[in-house]
């Protein structure tokens, strides 16, 4: 047991007292049991995608012609990726990146990653990206064109590479946060 010894002077009654540690140990044990039972060992996260597409024009508003923004079209083929920046229907630039997946063992399954693609995407955004200022709340748009038979893990590998490039974004309350430079959506025919 834990004890507190404050000495014993003369013939006075001993002032030594012992702290009973058993309830303390019991409390620790119960706390551990509770935390172990309620523990979440597998943590899941999410990757954003955006299906927001412009709707039909409002007939009550007058249309003012605006220059369309540059949009990155990311084509996934069997052997390579195509990074095509388009402004409206005009192709601004085009780059082919060989498909070199890095497969990481994770237990019985493999995780597909594309580190080369991530580097090229960052370089492309630095060259052509339109929303770089920290006060700019908009993100550059990326449209993903994938084959219908491509497995989902490959798409997630590409999205992971797409979201690897980050920039600072300042919010109205004065806080700043690192956000991915691209906003992604699927191409649908």
């Amino acid at each position: 047991m834990g004890g507190v010894d404050v000495g014993e002077v003369g013939k006075k009654r001993a002032t030594n007292s012992e702290i009973n540690m058993i309830p303390f140990i019991d409390l620790l044990m119960v706390t551990i049991a509770f935390l172990l039972i309620t523990a979440v060992w597998v943590t899941n996260s999410r990757i954003n995608a955006d299906a927001q597409v412009p709707g039909p024009p409002d007939p009550n508003k007058e249309l003012t012609p605006t220059t369309p923004e540059k949009v990155l079209n990311l084509h996934i083929s069997e052997t390579e990726f195509g990074l095509v920046w388009k402004q409206g229907s005009t192709v601004v630039s085009e780059l082919k990146v060989p498909k070199s997946p890095m497969e990481v063992e994770d237990g019985s399954r493999k995780i597909v990653r594309f580190p080369d693609l991530a580097k090229k995407l960052e370089a492309e955004w630095n060259q052509h990206g339109g929303h770089k200022d920290a006060s700019d709340r908009k993100l550059d748009q990326c449209i993903l064109h994938s084959d219908n038979k491509a497995p989902f893990k490959e798409i997630i590998g590409v999205l992971d590479a797409l979201y690897a490039s980050k920039r600072e974004m300042r919010f109205p309350d004065g806080t700043a946060k690192k956000v991915p430079v691209f906003n992604m959506t699927f191409s649908v025919r």
Binding site: N44, I156, F186
Partner: protein, 193 residues
């Protein structure tokens, strides 16, 4: 330790600093009983456990578990879905869950379509059951919270081997049903690896 020795009468600081040693059974007031339980000046048969290291271990375990405690609880993932993993991810939020495995599509655990049928058809399509269930959920949300703008977020738990055609069909159906902000649930890769 010094209960029967009276050594602190000689040393004025004895009541403050004590030698480490046995602390158990000090409450035994009678000396002959104490001698008896301690083994008559021979080696005692009673072994004392040092509780300090044990308590240290318990405290460290409690601190570790408290640090890793998640108040939001576990998010149910369909048993037949093997989630892919990614590094650049965000925290999961509270939203309707659409699970897509090799055979079925489920909304919060309720069947809402067949994956095989989409694959066999071979083209992008709107999944009517899924559309109706998501639409019903959206209308329920608007009824419950009429003054708040609808966030339009849903989370897709898609098996890593499901083809892109199925993913795009589910994605498009969710968008049609009023959920344009779609997220894919993934496992998180530790960046320290």
């Amino acid at each position: 330790m010094d209960h029967y020795s009276g050594s602190h009468k000689k040393d004025p600081h004895a009541h403050v600093i004590h030698q480490p040693g046995k602390r158990l059974m000090r409450a035994v007031k009678l000396k002959f009983v104490w001698n008896k339980v301690m083994g008559h000046s021979a080696k005692g048969v009673n072994a004392n456990l040092n509780l300090v290291s044990f308590i240290d271990f318990l405290v460290v375990t409690v601190i570790f578990l408290l640090m890793s405690f998640s108040a939001s609880g576990e998010i149910a993932v369909d048993r037949n879905v093997k989630l892919p993993k990614a590094e650049n991810v965000e925290d999961v939020i509270d939203a309707p869950m659409v699970a897509v495995n090799g055979n079925n599509i489920l909304v919060d655990g309720v069947p809402a379509g067949n994956t095989r049928a989409i694959e066999e058809l071979g083209r992008l399509q709107k999944i009517d059951e899924l559309f109706n269930m998501l639409k019903a959920k959206r209308e329920l949300w608007k009824t419950v919270q009429p003054n708040k703008p609808f966030p339009g977020v849903c989370i897709l738990q898609v098996d890593q081997d499901v083809p892109a055609l199925v993913v795009k069909s589910v994605f498009q159906t969710a968008a049609f049903a009023g959920y344009p902000n779609v997220s894919f649930m993934v496992g998180k890769i530790n960046t320290s690896k």
